[in-house]
């Protein structure tokens, strides 16, 4: 498989590829579409001259083009059959030229220093060379029809025709109808060709002119000029080639380069010499474009209907290009563009217009010699050599040079986006838009050079082209004032939702140990001093209403009564209860009772025992111990005391002792004395055992804290006697002073109790007031802060 070297990176690629696999550059220049494979000419390589007969024709109205490969002998064809298809003006030209002697073939562009190889480099063809096939047909047709136009005849005379050219090739004879060419040449002289901006791709001295273009004609065109004029000039008749000095140019071509044409044999073709129809467009364009010959080679359009038959004959399929080495590198970038296909006549400067052309094969110089035209027919050949395919050639580079954005009209007119939508566009979109001009610039960068006209190519300079400071893009969101306000308010709303709401009303005071110590110290002093000194600070006594009732009940007991005593108080409150119960028990002991002690508290029996042992003369008593079950146990005991409490604390059967002799039911007791600090316990005994007492009174000695719950039972008559707390005991003790001499326990506690209680009241009052003032000030300060 043939390898193609990339013109940009120089790396080898397969010839089947159109773009380089490494850098993506085009391997094949943008030339006129041609199904033939043409090997591209790489930079540095010398272009290889090709003969027109070997250049494949473009699209032709007469079937598929056939390209003649190098080494192939063009087959002669009788183009007389195609005579009817020739345009009339071409026939006229042919007739006119048939009358004029063949001119000396001229080497086109020989003196202009044309960098591209021209037909002048090749050896001139002998005058008696065999006409190429395509020209031979023309000659035969010309004999039968009108005379060859002068311009064609002049071409025939001037363009040298190789002797070895195929017989089928008919020389193009310049005729007098080429006055217009002279005019072109005249105009060319008057108006110098403007040069393109910047450095031309080729030296100024090598600016292509008409003469240079003519010099570029292959050898066959020069051979045709040397051939003799045919008897019957066809539309295009190739005159026998004559040796044409390189300085001589066809008149029509000389006019292109703006120099005075020495040879005036060729009358300028004008409208009168032209057929009834106008000049071919491609010629007129060529005339016009020759005036403004720039490195951007103009587009030459050759209308299909006006292409001569001899041109159509070249529109044949070219055989596959043989694997030959690439064409020699051109001296200039433009040279690389002039890729020619075998069998296809195309000047190098026109080769760049062919797009996607296959790597052209440069035919051997021998092939080019064989296909050379007569010298006199060089001009005609050049004119005629502008094949149909040239008309199809469009400088795609020019098309692609146009801005990509301007060439395409948007189908949908851009809508002006509102500011808030524009602000929401991502930064990448903004950068893409700003990058568009750069891309457009890149699109426009393919100007000049061997890749002129191509788009999407890498810049010539290494790297990414000219270094520029990157454009700074703002990262700030583009927002209007109103949008900012809305965003700020939304942010506040969201922040307010996420803020934890403080708990209201939960004020936790810090515990102060100092205050506790102060309170403790005050109370200790208040209670300890009276106890220690025995001072009496509280005069008088208080006699509650229930005192007399209770004393009356005890006084009313018979002698030696059996009394059930319930010790249901806790050790912690033993001080109050023992102080309150002592005068009552002392009063009861005056009756010499038989006591049965019971407790529903686990510590009750021990408390009772210790209490009884403090009595100076303790009475006989039976300790029934602990009664489990709470109210259920009380109820059970009330229903059947011997069954509920069978044994004493010592383990002796209780109900067989002398103390409890004759006692079988709760109602057998003379009285029930309940000592409790717990109102619930008192209620339990009242509620559970009260129904089973019958006439036996229930007397309760309670703590001050139980009075609110127990007093209703006293008020309702469910209990008969009530002694409440230390005050009740003090009063009862005071009532017993007549009997019991000396200060009792309650009297000793009373002064300390009063002092301590008074100081506690003072501290509570002072502290409460200070707390109220502080709270009020805090509330006021909060109100002021809120206001």
């Amino acid at each position: 498989m043939a390898e193609l070297r990339c013109p940009m990176c120089g790396k080898p690629n397969s010839d089947e590829l159109k773009k380089c696999a490494f850098c993506g550059a085009r391997l094949k220049p943008l030339l006129a579409s041609s199904p033939d494979n043409r090997s591209p000419i790489h930079p540095g390589e010398e272009p290889v001259e090709q003969r027109t007969s070997e250049v494949k024709r473009g699209i032709a109205p007469f079937g598929e083009p056939e390209s003649i490969q190098a080494g192939d002998v063009p087959t002669g064809e009788n183009i007389a059959d195609l005579e009817p298809a020739l345009p009339s003006w071409l026939r006229d030209l042919r007739d006119q030229d048939s009358q004029t002697p063949p001119a000396q073939p001229e080497k086109p562009f020989a003196d202009e220093g044309w960098p591209f190889p021209t037909g002048a480099e090749s050896a001139p063809q002998p005058a008696d060379a065999k006409l190429p096939d395509w020209l031979s047909g023309l000659e035969a047709g010309a004999k039968e029809e009108e005379e060859v136009p002068d311009w064609l005849a002049s071409i025939r005379d001037k363009s040298p025709i190789q002797p070895g050219t195929p017989a089928e090739e008919e020389p193009i004879a310049p005729s007098e109808g080429t006055d217009w060419l002279g005019r072109l040449r005249q105009e060319e002289k008057e108006k110098p060709a403007p040069t393109a901006g910047g450095a031309p791709p080729f030296p100024p001295e090598s600016t292509p002119t008409a003469s240079a273009l003519l010099e570029d004609l292959p050898d066959w065109s020069s051979d045709r000029k040397s051939e003799p004029a045919p008897d019957k000039p066809g539309p295009i008749q190739a005159a026998p080639d004559e040796a044409k000095p390189p300085e001589e140019l066809p008149t029509w071509l000389a006019g292109l380069q703006g120099e005075p044409e020495k040879d005036t044999a060729v009358p300028p073709t004008g409208p009168k010499s032209a057929p009834s129809e106008e000049l071919p467009d491609w010629l007129m364009k060529l005339q016009a474009e020759s005036k403004t010959l720039t490195p951007e080679f103009p587009r030459i359009d050759v209308p299909f209907e006006e292409s001569p038959d001899w041109l159509a004959k070249f529109e044949t399929k070219a055989p596959p290009a043989p694997e030959e080495p690439a064409a020699p590198a051109f001296a200039s970038p433009m040279e690389s563009k002039s890729v020619e296909e075998p069998g296809k006549i195309m000047p190098d400067w026109l080769a760049e217009f062919e797009e996607g052309a296959a790597p052209a094969e440069v035919p051997s110089p021998a092939g080019l010699e064989e296909a050379a035209l007569p010298a006199g027919e060089s001009e005609a050949n050049l004119l005629m050599e502008t094949p149909d395919w040239l008309s199809m050639l469009k400088p795609e580079g020019g098309e692609k040079k146009a801005p990509a954005g301007a060439a395409e009209k948007p189908e949908i007119a851009p809508v002006e986006l509102p500011s808030w939508v524009q602000a929401l566009r991502p930064v990448e979109a903004v950068m893409a838009e700003s990058k568009a001009p750069q891309e457009e610039e890149k699109e426009e960068a393919a100007i000049g050079g061997p890749l002129a006209g191509l788009s999407g190519v890498l810049p010539l300079s290494p790297g990414l082209g000219a270094l520029r400071k990157p454009q700074a893009y703002s990262t700030n969101l583009q927002m209007t004032e109103g949008q900012q306000r809305h965003a700020a308010s939304l942010e506040r709303l969201v922040a307010a939702e996420s803020e934890p709401r403080p708990l209201s009303g939960q004020t936790r005071l810090r515990s102060t140990n100092l205050l506790r110590w102060i309170i403790a110290l005050v109370l200790i002093l208040a209670v300890g001093l009276p106890l220690a000194t025995g001072i009496q600070t509280v005069p008088g006594a208080v006699y509650p209403s229930e005192l007399s009732t209770t004393r009356g009940l005890i006084n009313g007991l018979r002698a030696n009564p059996s009394v059930l005593m319930i010790f249901d108080y806790e050790p912690a409150l033993s001080g109050e209860l023992e102080a309150a119960a002592s005068p009552v028990i002392e009063h009861l002991l005056l009756k010499s009772p038989r006591l049965a002690i019971l407790s529903t508290s686990p510590t009750g029996p021990i408390l009772a025992d210790s209490f009884m042992k403090r009595i100076t003369t303790p009475p006989e008593y039976v300790n029934l111990g602990y009664l489990a079950g709470g109210p259920a146990g009380v109820l059970g005991f009330a229903e059947d005391p011997p069954a509920a409490a069978t044994y004493t604390l010592e383990g002796v059967p209780a109900w067989q002792t002398p103390t409890l002799q004759g006692i079988q039911a709760l109602s057998d007791f003379a009285a029930v004395l309940v000592l409790t600090d717990n109102p619930d316990t008192g209620r339990t005994w009242i509620e559970q055992a009260g129904l089973y007492l019958n006439t036996a009174p229930m007397i309760m000695v309670i703590s001050a804290q139980a009075e609110p719950m127990i007093r209703p039972y006293y008020d309702s008559g469910q209990i008969k006697g009530l002694v409440t707390g230390l005050a009740g005991g003090k009063a009862y003790e005071q009532a017993n002073e007549q009997v019991f001499q000396g200060a009792g326990l309650t009297r000793r506690y009373w002064d300390a109790f009063s002092a301590g209680l008074f100081l506690a009241e003072v501290m509570i009052l002072v502290g409460g007031l200070s707390g109220a003032i502080v709270a009020w000030r805090v509330r006021r300060s909060k109100a002021e802060e809120g206001a």
Binding site: L503, G505, Q506, T507, R508, L509, R510, S511, E570, P571, A572, S601, P602, T603, G629, G630, P631, A632, G633, N678, P679, D680, R683, T684, Q705, P708, M709
Partner: protein, 247 residues
């Protein structure tokens, strides 16, 4: 049966009928009760305990199941069950203290069953503790639990006496939140002075409803309200009749 007994029996039957009827009639609707700030703070305290990975201290008091104060103990046990379910996800399970043997056994069973239901392995046999047999010994035994275990909240629900002041004072020293309720009047007075949100009167028995409204709990509160109104009406009518000389 005397008329007092008959009236009492009738009151029990009426309450049972009302409760059953309300349970079946109010299956789809939850009655609206007044907001009790104590339970609202308790819910927050539970959440904080779970988040902090700390434990709750639930104290059930010194009452027994065979005493009239058993209802308060049962209310405390219901609170214990509910709290143990709510704090099952916490790193440390709650600890229960009580002053009665039977209540200690029941609280231990409650904790274990709740822990098994929650697939929690933190509930052990010592999650429920008997701290003392007397009120003050019970309070003295509960103080180390409040100091050493570092609970994030204390829930005192049950039968407490004046010894509850020691517990609330220890909670204030530890700067922990306390929810307390007792059926004992002196204890309620102490709780009002020493606790931020005390449960006064019947609020102790509404804990189950406010923590997780179940049909029977809601119905029981409604029945209490109905009976209370009936008693109020009866007292007023009786007072009027007494004034009129009829009674």
């Amino acid at each position: 049966m005397n008329w007092v007994g008959l009236a009492g029996f009738g009151l029990v039957i009426l309450s049972a009928i009302l409760m059953a009827g309300l349970v079946f009639l109010r299956r789809k609707s939850t009655p609206a009760f007044r907001e009790i700030p104590a339970f609202a703070r308790l819910r927050k305290a539970i959440g904080l305990a779970v988040e902090e990975g700390s434990r709750l201290h639930i104290s059930l008091g010194r009452g027994g199941l065979t005493t009239p104060q058993s209802a308060a103990e049962l209310a405390g046990l219901e609170m214990l069950r509910r709290l143990s379910e709510l704090t099952a996800a916490s790193d440390r399970p709650p600890v229960a203290t009580s002053g009665d043997g039977a209540v200690t056994i029941l609280s231990q069973d409650t904790l274990l069953s709740s822990g098994q239901a929650a697939l929690s392995t933190g509930y052990g046999a010592t999650a429920a503790r008997l701290t003392g047999l007397t009120p003050f010994s019970y309070a003295a035994g509960a103080l180390p639990v409040m100091h050493d275990e570092n609970p994030s909240a204390n829930v005192l629900m049950g039968n407490f006496g004046v010894e509850v002041a020691l517990l609330t004072d220890a909670a204030e020293r530890g700067n922990t939140s306390t929810l307390a309720g007792s059926d004992n009047l002196p204890a309620q007075a102490i709780l009002y002075a020493s606790v931020q949100d005390p449960l006064i009167g019947e609020e102790l028995y509404a804990a189950g409803t406010y923590l997780k409204a179940r049909p029977f709990h809601s119905a029981s509160l409604t029945v209490q309200d109905i009976l209370r109104w009936l008693i109020v009406i009866g007292i007023l009518v009786g007072a009027l009749l007494k004034l009129a000389g009829v009674l």
